[in-house]
């Protein structure tokens, strides 16, 4: 990736939505994802959504910070795609 890799934010803080910050961080074969959410008991679903995202894009050398306000998995997946796209220098 020759893109400048400046940090990007996607999404909004609002009910049923979430905000994702993507920053360059750590070794190229590592990806750190931090989820802050008030909704307890959905660990399995978060893990499955993140597994699919990582399998699809093989993100390395990045940290994703997710600030969740009760988004459904559909919204989470969409925001991840948007954030990743912007970070890669796609449609910002």
């Amino acid at each position: 990736m020759e893109s400048p890799r400046i940090p990007v934010i996607a999404g909004v803080v609002g009910s049923g939505n979430l905000e994702i910050l993507v920053e360059a961080e750590g070794p190229a074969d590592h990806c750190t994802i931090v989820v802050v959410t008030a909704a307890a008991g959905f660990g399995v679903i978060w893990q499955a959504v993140m597994d699919d995202f990582v399998a699809r894009h093989k993100p390395g050398g990045v940290r994703l910070s997710i600030n969740d306000v009760g988004a459904t998995p559909a919204v989470v997946s969409l925001r991840l795609e948007q954030a990743w796209d912007a970070f890669q220098g796609g449609s910002a």
Partner: protein, 547 residues
């Protein structure tokens, strides 16, 4: 029988005579309405209180719930909806023995409690057409309490844009020795037009306030999500365009509102103007205004009207069914028939879908009923005329072997999780439990799995027509069920195989980039935009105005 063939007719004569005394004539003052009801209704009568998800005979309903329970009792209610508090009050007061209905909506929780407590017996939950049908066979009302906009001194009625169920109810009641009592908003010298002739009406009362009308079909575009935009793109490109859907019905909801608002933008860009969505059985949805103005729509027949749409509809008589007086005429029975037989596609949302594709809006503790959805959302087995969409769907249907026949497209569109992370996909519908606790003969299923042709979620489209076995069908459903337990338990290899065969299609398989699914695609993004699109003709109810 000794040649006595007119006992019911004499019973009506007796009721009318008692009513004339109690009410002081044919035009009854509102102060005498309770006395009138007590005089003409007999214990055990089948009574229809008119009301649907739009207009309501609310004054007559409230008056009925204020009658003496010792006089007005053991009633059998036969009516479209149990939606008003006064409907349920009547049951709580012990005046009702049995109910046959279609939809309970806002009273679903109270109704479930009364049924569980043994306070009331449910005959059946019907579709609208089914209940109307029974009015002419075994559930003919002895007394119908109806709502109209205006009456003249003779008792002719003008029902106006909200004609809705009135003709079906009055036809059955008046011609089988029943009594028709109408509440009207106004009594005038001359009606704009006669919707119900005076000879079919026994008593008229002017209500203290205009009958209640619910703006049930108004959806604020501001609340449409990007996920709904994505699913609307899939519906348009993956189903409407591929089958060439020109004749259709939309269930109510934000999912279908999103489709309507994508017609002048996304669908137009795909070159689909004039090729899809030209003829509708649909209420006057405000969200259809931009598509109408863009020239997408040729004709719309309506079940009822919609609050605030009257001036717009009246100004578009080429599109809507409008009387010589200039106001719309709706008719639920005819529009339901049109939706069942003359449309190639129904699309709507639901609360739960199981592994066979059965869908239900009954959830624990709520007996909600299903209104008209099952009439639209069912293959019309009696249909005989062909259309390209119907034939294409029929050619895909794995069950059609031998004799060629067509197939209606019945599409369920759901986000995999509803609000509060309630999964839309379940192994077992709550309907089973609801049916058992209410002592119903069958679980209250809204749309049977074998009628569903496609399921759309944010994950993709499952084409159930192409599935050859129950196992394939189950995996196709799991394959679009996202991160619900049903979705997580999929056989990934089987789903990929279904994807290769075009049974499961992802947005990318349809050439849709989910990142382009933004609200910018909506032809209107607020109620104000809809008003503007209508040239100022649409007059939204206050609660939808924020300017």
């Amino acid at each position: 029988m000794n040649g006595d063939w007119s006992r019911a007719a004499r019973s009506r004569e007796g009721r009318v005579a008692r009513g004339m005394i109690a009410g002081g004539g044919r035009i009854v003052s509102r102060q005498k309405i309770i006395e009138l009801l007590e005089a003409v209704i007999e214990p055990g009568d089948r009574v229809c209180i008119e009301g649907n998800n739009q207009k309501q005979a609310d004054f007559l309903s409230k008056s009925l719930a204020a009658t003496d329970p010792a006089k007005v009792r053991e009633l059998h209610l036969v009516q479209s909806v149990l939606a008003l508090p006064s409907h349920v009050d009547l049951i709580e007061r012990g005046q009702v023995a049995r109910i046959d209905f279609s939809f309970s909506g806002p009273q679903a929780g109270r109704l479930a409690k009364l049924v569980e407590g043994g306070r009331i017996q449910i005959g059946a939950i019907h579709t609208y057409l089914e209940l109307f049908g029974r009015y002419f066979i075994d559930l003919t009302p002895q007394v119908a309490l109806i709502a109209a906009q205006m009456a003249d001194a003779e008792g002719n009625l003008y029902t106006g844009p909200n004609t809705e169920d009135t003709p079906a109810i009055v036809e059955a009641t008046a011609f089988k020795n029943g009594l028709v009592i109408a509440q009207v908003n106004q009594i005038v010298d001359k009606l704009p037009r006669v919707d119900i002739p005076a000879g079919w009406v026994n008593f008229v009362v002017q209500a203290p306030t205009p009958h209640y009308v619910e703006p049930l079909f108004t959806r604020d575009p501001a609340q449409i999500s990007e996920i709904q935009v994505l699913m609307a793109m899939m519906a348009i490109k993956g189903i409407y365009a591929e089958y060439g859907i020109t004749r259709l019905n939309h269930g109510i909801g934000f999912d279908t509102a999103a489709i309507e608002l994508l017609l002048p933008t996304y669908a137009a860009e795909l070159g689909l103007r004039g090729k899809i969505c030209t003829h509708w059985a649909l209420n006057p949805h405000p969200t259809l205004i931009p598509a109408i103005e863009a020239g997408f729509v040729e004709s719309v027949h309506c079940f009822g009207s919609e609050v605030g749409m009257e001036p717009y509809v009246a100004a578009r008589p080429d599109i809507f069914f409008v009387g010589a007086d200039g106001s719309m005429r709706s008719n639920r029975a005819f529009s339901q028939t049109a939706g069942h037989y003359a449309c190639d596609l129904f699309i709507g949302s639901t609360l739960q879908i199981d592994l066979a594709g059965n869908s239900s809006t009954a959830t624990k503790g709520r007996i909600a009923g299903f209104g008209g959805a099952p009439n639209m959302g069912a293959d019309a087995r009696g249909r005989r005329h062909a259309s390209p969409a119907w034939l294409k769907a029929g050619s895909e249907d794995a069950r059609n072997t031998g004799m060629p026949r067509g197939r209606k497209l019945v599409v369920q569109t759901v986000e995999t999780f509803r609000e509060h992370m309630e999964p839309a996909f379940v192994e077992r519908l709550d309907a089973w439990e609801v049916g058992e606790s209410a002592g119903m003969a069958l679980p209250p299923v809204m749309i049977y799995g074998d009628d569903v042709s496609h399921i759309i979620t944010e994950e993709g489209i499952a084409n159930l027509l192409l599935c050859r076995t129950a196992e394939e069908r189950e995996q196709a459903i799991r394959g679009v069920a996202g991160y619900t337990q049903v979705g997580l338990a999929r056989d990934r290899r089987a789903v990929e195989n279904l994807r290769d065969r075009g049974i499961v299609r992802r947005p990318e398989d349809l050439g849709i980039n989910p990142r382009l699914a933004t609200r910018d695609l909506l032809a209107a993004r607020s109620i104000k935009d809809l008003v503007r699109a209508s040239g100022g003709l649409y007059d939204p109810p206050k609660r939808f105005r924020n300017w």
